[in-house]
Symmetry: C2
Subunit: 194 residues, 2 copies
């Protein structure tokens, strides 16, 4: 007897409903600190609203500081282990641009701000997306301290991206970003990939 073939499934990825109102009321972001605060605020709101893990991200188009897309962790909400904040923001940015890469031959470029250093999957996704700058808040160790896995990311992983013209900044507003991880822990949030 043969096994029944798997019916193809349409996968839908959405952001939680509170995001619309949240963005309407968020201040404009021009400097790196403002952009990182947006990513951290998204992470915090995701914890407070109970819609996912303590991670937020945002993609900006430069020059011009245009907020192109945002992402929050939706692994449990969407029953999808791929739905990390960075993945959501990257896919939404590409959907908005209507193209599979954010790499623009000249002039403008896209930057990702994430409240915590990306896991192995998200770091790989940064490369494929054509982002040219990655700015991180909390560090891998902060996520690990909470019990979250980060996967096979090594110092040479970052160098690999830098060698391919991705500028990387780590530890921006790390204290504020860590506070969201602590908040999640205090609320006994689930460590879904332990």
């Amino acid at each position: 007897m043969r096994s029944r073939p798997a019916s193809p499934i349409e996968i839908r990825l959405t952001l939680p409903p509170w995001v619309d109102h949240f963005l309407e009321n968020s201040p404009p972001c021009r400097a790196d600190e403002g952009k990182m605060r947006l990513a951290i605020s998204l992470a915090r709101e995701n914890v407070i609203r109970g819609t996912g893990g303590p991670f937020g991200a945002a993609v900006f188009r430069e020059p011009g500081h245009e907020l192109v897309s945002i992402g929050v962790n939706g692994v449990e909400r969407l029953n999808n282990s791929v739905a990390h904040a960075e993945m959501m923001a990257i896919m939404a940015a590409e959907a908005r641009r209507g193209y599979y890469t954010l790499r623009i031959p000249a002039g403008e470029h896209y930057e990702l701000f994430t409240s915590c250093e990306p896991c192995a999957m998200c770091l790989g996704a940064v490369l494929w997306s054509g982002l040219t700058r990655l700015v991180c808040g909390a560090g891998r160790q902060d996520a690990l301290a909470l019990g979250f896995e980060e996967g096979p990311v090594f110092p040479e992983s970052y160098r690999y991206l830098e060698d391919r013209e991705v500028k990387i900044v780590r530890g921006l507003l790390a204290g504020e970003a860590r506070a969201v991880l602590t908040l999640y822990q205090e609320r006994s949030g689930r460590i879904y990939n332990r």
Copy 2:
């Protein structure tokens, strides 16, 4: 003047329409070779139909050889750099199970067969998905020879997964898998992440 907030976007990921008919007519898969041939056939069909890059993947539930989900590369078709064959198969398997992990406490487990060794993103995704076995056809070098990037994957990346109870087999039917990469090259398929 503030930048306009990004409207949240629903992201939809689908398989190409030919998949349904293809699965109805594919032979049952019991042994590893049969399962790999399915992944390779999906990759080949994706090239022939012009629906994406030369990569295919399938998730099986064991014991029982149940085909749970499949994936083909859809980066260009979906304008989504995340839509690698492995990612599609993993997300579809989780959607089918209705849960964010494929790790089952006891007894059954899920395996991923992929026509080519996963890139950094997909290798990370394997870990988060809870798959307990990864079987690969063609190698990283084969993809690189074509001009495809594979990202920051190192020997210790594989060890990292093995240390977390993911069994890994590489090079199964590598010749047949490589032939699909060659076919793609002959048809001047786009190297979308060069």
